[in-house]
């Protein structure tokens, strides 16, 4: 993979363009014409001011936003986690605090919500919907961080299948997070605290595990998101290792990305009117790191430079196999394309 561009800029404002701890994106494509990116800002967890979805073009032309705390109750978020479009361009958003999937049209108008519950478990515990994926038949898959299971729902929200359970064995989960469905209808789940990706068929039959705990190549530490391209390559947001790993479908690592951010269009615009910072920045060398031993790890290296991934929480592919990596702690998206 090679770097294409970087999108976004940080902002601590509750409205307007700029990202504030972005957590996930969804891409709406008008094939051959345009790509619109919908980005979820998780924002400051104390106040939630700024929690919202912004949408803008691939070229960084700002369009709008919705779901902020000033909206009606049904349309605002509390602790949103992930996004997915269905086949009618309806945007689905999980909210793990309210145990809901909220559904909006592509202009950000609230449509309805699906309430998730744990009745099938009979314990009334919190569900905590984290990841979401929607297949070609508009079946919705949602992962439960508290119950450690996956539910498959009809578009209307009726549970048609449920599998999982707490544990580290095949088909069990520990706080699962992001998911994706490949072109063959198989489901991939970022089994976050088990440090692996699990693959299932559309009926929940366990097929395969990718990765294991660790810091080495092919190992994961708290993977938060997974995406599968048209060639069935599997991109994993190796969140706790501050990197993205790309595997072929058999599980061999074919690429390890650590980030190579450039200045986005919005960043250039900002620096153009803050010349003192642009000039001081030009005199700085933000890539050279001479860290003491106790800071020589992926987290600190990412925190002390700027081009590397810091908090790569979400991976998504578009129809051209371009990979979008969203970093919550650098408030931007890095876009990559296949090398050849």
């Amino acid at each position: 993979m090679k770097t294409v561009k970087t999108i976004g800029i940080n902002s601590n404002q509750p409205v307007g363009r700029g990202f504030n701890f972005p957590y996930d994106i969804a891409i709406k494509e008008d094939l051959g014409k345009s790509r619109t990116i919908y980005l979820l800002n998780r924002s400051n967890s104390a106040t939630r001011m700024g929690t919202r979805i912004q949408y803008f073009t691939y070229e960084e032309d700002w369009i709008g936003e919705f779901g902020n705390p000033l909206e009606d109750d049904e349309a605002k978020f509390t602790r949103p986690v992930t996004l997915a479009f269905d086949n009618s361009d309806q945007l689905h958003v999980t909210d793990e605090a309210t145990d809901e999937i909220k559904i909006f049209n592509s202009e950000g108008k609230f449509q309805r919500s699906i309430k998730l519950d744990s009745d099938s478990q009979g314990n009334g515990d919190r569900f905590g919907p984290a990841g979401i994926a929607i297949d070609s038949g508009d079946f919705i898959y949602v992962s439960s961080r508290y119950l450690n299971l996956i539910q498959k729902l009809t578009p209307e929200g009726r549970v048609v299948k449920e599998w999982g359970g707490t544990g580290g064995g095949p088909g069990e989960f520990s706080m699962p997070w992001g998911m994706d469905v490949d072109s063959q209808g198989d489901l991939y789940v970022a089994d976050w605290r088990n440090d692996r990706i699990q693959k299932f068929d559309s009926e929940g039959i366990f097929l395969k595990t990718y990765g294991e705990s660790g810091r080495g190549v092919g190992q994961f530490h708290r993977p938060s998101s997974v995406a599968v391209d048209a060639n069935l390559n599997v991109a994993v947001a190796d969140w706790g290792n501050e990197r993205v790993q790309i595997l072929d479908n058999a599980g061999s690592v074919i690429n390890v990305l650590e980030g190579e951010a450039t200045l986005s269009k919005w960043s250039h615009e900002w620096l153009d009117v803050n010349l003192d910072e642009r000039e001081a920045r030009n005199r700085a060398d933000l890539k050279v790191l001479d860290l003491p031993d106790h800071l020589k790890n992926a987290y600190h290296e990412a925190s002390q430079t700027e081009h590397k991934f810091w908090g790569p929480v979400s991976v998504k592919f578009d129809s051209e196999n371009q990979l979008y990596v969203t970093e919550h702690s650098r408030h931007r998206i890095q876009v990559f394309e296949p090398a050849s």
Partner: protein, 479 residues
Amino acid sequence: MVSIDTELVIHLMNRAGFGITPDELDSCTGIAYEDLVENLLGSKESSHIPDDVIFRDHVDLHASRSGVPAYWAYRMISTKSPLEEKMSLFWHGIFATGNSKLNNLRSLLNQIEMFRRSGTGKFDDLLLELSQDPAMLIWLDNQDNLNESINENYGREILELFSMGVGNYTEDDIKECARAFTGWSVANSEYMSLMAQKDSIWPYGRIVWHYDFKPGIHDVDTKEFLGEQGPFNGDDVIRIICSQKATARFIARHMYNFFVADEVPVPQWKDTPPRDPAAIDTLVEAYFEYDHDIKSVLRVLLTSNFFKESRYQKIKSPVELVIGTLRLSGEYNDDSKVDSSIFGVIAESDYMGQALCNPPSVEGWHTGEEWISSGALVDRVNFASQHIGNPDNDGVKHIVDRIRTDLRDDAHTVGELIESCGNSVGITRISEDTTEGVLDLFSQEEVQVKGKDAKIPIEDDTILRVLEFMVSSREYQLC
């Protein structure tokens, strides 16, 4: 009556930790006091709320954009190594660095993690790490300390507030000290300090700082410092500072103030002798006997008679009161309890006068009686009674269950209930005033007549009311 051993364990955990729950107290049964001290000194156990879960729920804490006090609160509430956190708090109060100027909380958190890592090692090493700590360097402007034009801010404070104390060096020593630290800076200091000044988060959030020695602006010439001469750099100056008796006395007095009994504020130390000069002498001797090793000095302190006899000589700091109360209430007793409420809870400590990561000045907080103003006292009492008076909190529920089980037959008196409730929240010496206050809670005629010898049914509500009263008492403010 609570046994002397139990009282001593509670005392140790109040000072070397954040109090002790009844279950934790049970687990200490049969362990010798000296072994408990060793366990505290050696413990590096992790906590029950891991970082990954905290960061997943509070993504902004991953980058420490805000909320480092909340993150630290999780650490203090959930740690199984409370002395490690207590020592971090101790050094944060002395090497007081504030985010109000830094605007870079992650760099400040790295400093606190340095205290956690090196806070009980050799003082020379700690002072060296502090002198290369980017948050401290920016806090005291050492990036502007150049061979051609010294900025003596760090040179002054390392002597006055971090090691020796006023009256033990000259103005010339300050200048020479500053010269030795020229060139001790942070990488990309111009850009980093500009971003700090402007509180800039653009374009991609804050960049955390790292130390960088700049030989081109370091003064290599001979210096004369505290009677010694040479082409000293910062390492040499720290070695000389740490060999001074004044440094040993200064650190000893800080440790006495933090762990043993409240002293007058630091600015008065020059003119006011220590509360217990013999205790300070003991700690000074330990400092030199054990080659400036802080853990060894702590061991001497925690096993000394002056420590064991110092019960209720200290007013809890706001952080001690808040964290100790939350450890008892059990509101964050497992990783499913990670919740945004933590931000509001730790902010209560700010209202009581101790805002973590934002000390009032480089001098840190004034402690002891200065924690108690009329407003702060109301906040302290309200906080403790709200959290311990809430039966929905797991820890409170558990304490109530224990007391009910212990006192389940009706042969028990109000006095025994009072003692049991007091002990459960760490109070082993209950005053007559507090006892009278509890008795006033009861309307039963028998209680009015027989006082604490009266026998009453032990209901959950009754236990809860007494617990709530106990944490509202004067005794709960002390440790």
